[in-house]
């Protein structure tokens, strides 16, 4: 069972994503800021990270860069309310980029796709 780390400073959204992803059969863990998220990446070794971009303190893009620098690659989905980040080339490194929507189906589907791709890539 894949383990998903949700990093978002909005508690209600963390709850929503946890609920929906668990329903879809994933194991979830949450962090309320980027620093905590990076800590959990080290300590809990999630299979995938869903990162909000705009957060107090370190933002999602910087956090993603730290994750990418690790030896062991963890796929990242950027999930943000700000569609304009799409124009920022720094976000292009993410495995997927989503604009937040109340219809969480797309997020769940994207998580599945990214994990599948990861699985195929690593044989």
């Amino acid at each position: 069972m894949s383990r998903i780390l949700i990093v978002d400073d909005e508690p209600h959204l963390r709850l929503l994503y946890e609920t929906e992803l668990r329903r879809a059969g994933f194991e979830t863990m949450t962090a309320s800021n980027a620093v905590q998220g990076l800590e959990f990446v080290e300590t809990m070794e999630p299979d995938l990270v869903i990162l909000d971009i705009r957060m107090a303190g370190m933002d999602g893009i910087e956090a993603m860069q730290h994750i990418m620098e690790r030896d062991q690659r963890v796929p990242v989905i950027l999930n943000t309310a700000f569609s304009s980040y799409k124009d920022n080339y720094l976000t292009w490194a993410a495995d997927a980029y989503l604009t937040k929507s109340s219809d969480v189906t797309e997020l769940v589907e994207t998580v599945k796709q990214v994990l599948e791709k990861q699985a195929t890539a690593h044989g």
Binding site: E10, H12, L13, L16, T19, A81, T99, K100, S102
Partner: protein, 590 residues
């Protein structure tokens, strides 16, 4: 020794000397007979010295001069009297006679002062004097009018037409130069021609009679003259104004009397016996043999000319008339030039004002755009900030919909929340797209190709909804410079709208046409068409007729087309349905 001259009788010498007097003098003896006469008097009376000497002087004057009685009664002592003189030939001449009675002969015991037996008459032709007086009076009157006119023409804010009219009024008015008709020609330097501009004057004797009666009661200042002109003459000007419009003289025709008059800066009077180049044409225009032309000159050059005649009354154009016409033309020319300069100044002032106004508008537009841009940024931030809570609300509402039993009324309520949140999310999505500055990545594309590619992408979806799709591409390879992605977005929007108004099926036709300066693309549907009062609002932000629309789709389309320098349009088709179109401008060099 007797000298030859000294040998003559003294009386003879005196009589010869008297004859040589440069004044018209007659000596009358007692009884009224002429005893001596001067050469001048003979000339005036048209008789020789021999014819006069010894005759009674009384018969030559009406009423008779009572010289004899005069001596008895001492009536006309040193008096002047006026008489009609009947000369030897010709008409009577009005004269003034100055009498100086005197006595010749023995003076024993008689009163020298009272007993006269001779009289010296000084006869002067009053005709000449009256004429000179009249001339002087006329000069004074006309100079005063000229002065008044020029003051009025300079002082008042008259338009060029009013000045020209005033000039012609003065030439024809009774208090003015008393010409019957006046025609004003102005130089058009660009074409090198002098053309008839405006004219004043009656067209026949009857009209002339009526007008001159009217005008005889005119007050003498210019403005009253202009007012009564407006009231009584203006409507009779049609004939002369028709004539003036036919007048045209080439400035290069230096022999022409009008051009010559200008070049020599001299008014010219044309009499029936004169035959100068150009005169025949003017005679034909005027229908009259005698006329006067005067140049309109200023220091800076030639403005034109005035032609004046007495075609109605047939009166001779006198030296004085010509002199005043010339004087007046000079005055008028300055006034006309002033008025032109004034008009030019006024025009420039208006231009300046308009430029100023435009600049202010530009400034306001800039300010408005700045405000809009600030508003845009603000709303983008607000929209983004709203997205997080909306995701939470809508996300959990969806969870509720899923978890609640179909029969539970809350199931329906949660469904409503879901729908409404979706709508808000659509608004935010469109709004953010709308506000996001579009990067201008222009390419030159063939419009028909772009349309074909776009329609192909959505063709399947459209036909799946039971809608027939047709292309009518007539732009013939015309190219436009555009951001193809944006133009596709517009076309896609039109296509989706067309599909949505035909849920029961129908047909869509996409047409391209070349129009003046651009290419038109139109998406025609066979839906219900647009309600009459809606077509203005369709492109306004947040206006929608669809239950889930954001009301931004067409606004964004309009923005995109506008940013390409094009226009969007909508119409109800005569057959059925609506047509949404846009025109993209052709590149300037094609």
């Amino acid at each position: 020794m007797i000298d030859e001259g000294a040998g003559r009788p003294e009386a003879e010498i005196l009589s010869a000397a008297f004859y040589q007097s440069p004044l018209p003098l007659i000596v009358v003896a007692d009884g009224g007979t002429v005893s001596a006469v001067s050469h001048e008097a003979c000339a005036l009376m048209g008789l020789s010295r021999e014819e006069l000497l010894g005759r009674s002087v009384n018969g030559y004057f009406l009423p008779q001069l009572p010289i004899g009685r005069c001596f008895e009664l001492k009536e006309c002592l040193d008096q002047r009297c006026r008489r009609e003189m009947l000369p030897g030939r010709g008409d009577p001449i009005p004269v003034e006679i100055l009498c100086r009675p005197f006595r010749v002969g023995s003076d024993e015991g008689e009163d020298l002062e009272t007993e006269y037996n001779h009289c010296l008459l000084y006869i002067s032709d009053t005709r000449k004097r009256d004429y000179e007086d009249e001339l002087r009076a006329a000069r004074v009157a006309k100079l005063s009018l000229l002065n008044q006119v020029s003051e009025a023409l300079y002082g008042a804010n008259l338009t060029l037409d009013q000045v020209l009219e005033a000039v012609l009024i003065c030439i024809t008015a009774g208090q003015g130069l008393r010409f019957n008709r006046a025609f004003l020609l102005l130089v058009d330097e660009e074409v090198g021609v002098m053309r008839g501009e405006i004219a004043i004057g009656p067209s026949d004797q009857d009209e002339a009679g009526r007008i001159w009666t009217d005008l005889s009661h005119q007050p003498e200042d210019l403005f009253s003259m202009m007012t009564s002109y407006d009231q009584s003459i203006k409507q009779t000007d049609a004939a002369v104004n028709a004539i003036v419009k036919t007048m045209s003289v080439s400035l290069s025709d230096h022999d022409n009397v009008l051009v010559r008059s200008m070049e020599e800066r001299q008014a010219i009077r044309i009499t029936p016996d004169m035959d100068l180049p150009g005169v025949a044409a003017i005679r034909q225009w005027l229908g009259c043999d005698c006329f006067a032309v005067a140049p309109l000159m200023t220091r800076s050059g030639i403005l034109g000319a005035i032609i004046a005649d007495n075609a109605i009354s047939g009166q001779r154009i006198t030296d004085l008339d010509l002199e005043f016409l010339q004087l007046f033309a000079n005055q008028s020319a300055s006034a006309i030039e002033n008025s032109r300069l004034y008009t030019e100044l006024e025009r420039r002032l208006i231009d300046l004002r308009q430029a100023h106004q435009k600049q202010r508008e530009h400034q306001e537009t800039l300010l408005r755009m700045e405000r809009l841009s600030v508003m845009g940024e603000t709303s983008a931030i607000v929209a983004h900030e709203l997205r997080n809570p909306l995701v939470a609300i809508g996300g959990f509402a969806r969870a509720l919909v899923r978890n609640l039993d179909q029969d539970d009324p809350n199931h329906r309520y949660a469904g409503i929340i879901t729908e409404e949140v979706s709508r808000m999310e659509t608004i935010i999505h469109d709004l953010l797209d709308f506000i996001r500055p579009q990067k201008l990545q222009r390419k030159v594309v063939v419009v028909d190709d772009l349309v074909t590619a776009t329609v192909e992408r959505f063709g399947g979806e459209i036909q799946a909804k039971g809608i027939e799709l047709a292309l009518d591409l007539q732009a013939g390879g015309a190219k436009v410079s555009c951001n193809p992605i944006e133009i596709q977005q517009v076309l896609q929007n039109f296509l989706v709208n067309a599909m949505q108004v035909m849920p029961e099926g129908g047909s869509i036709e996409v047409r391209t046409r070349q129009v003046t300066g651009g290419v038109q693309v139109e998406v025609c549907d066979t839906g219900p068409g647009i309600a009459e009062n809606m077509s203005d609002k369709l492109f306004a932000p947040f206006f929608t007729t669809k239950p889930t629309g954001s009301g931004l789709g067409l606004t964004i389309c309009q923005q995109i087309i506008k940013s390409h320098g094009g226009v969007v349009g909508v119409r109800n088709r005569t057959e059925k349905g609506a047509g949404f179109s846009f025109i993209l401008p052709l590149p300037k060099d094609s």
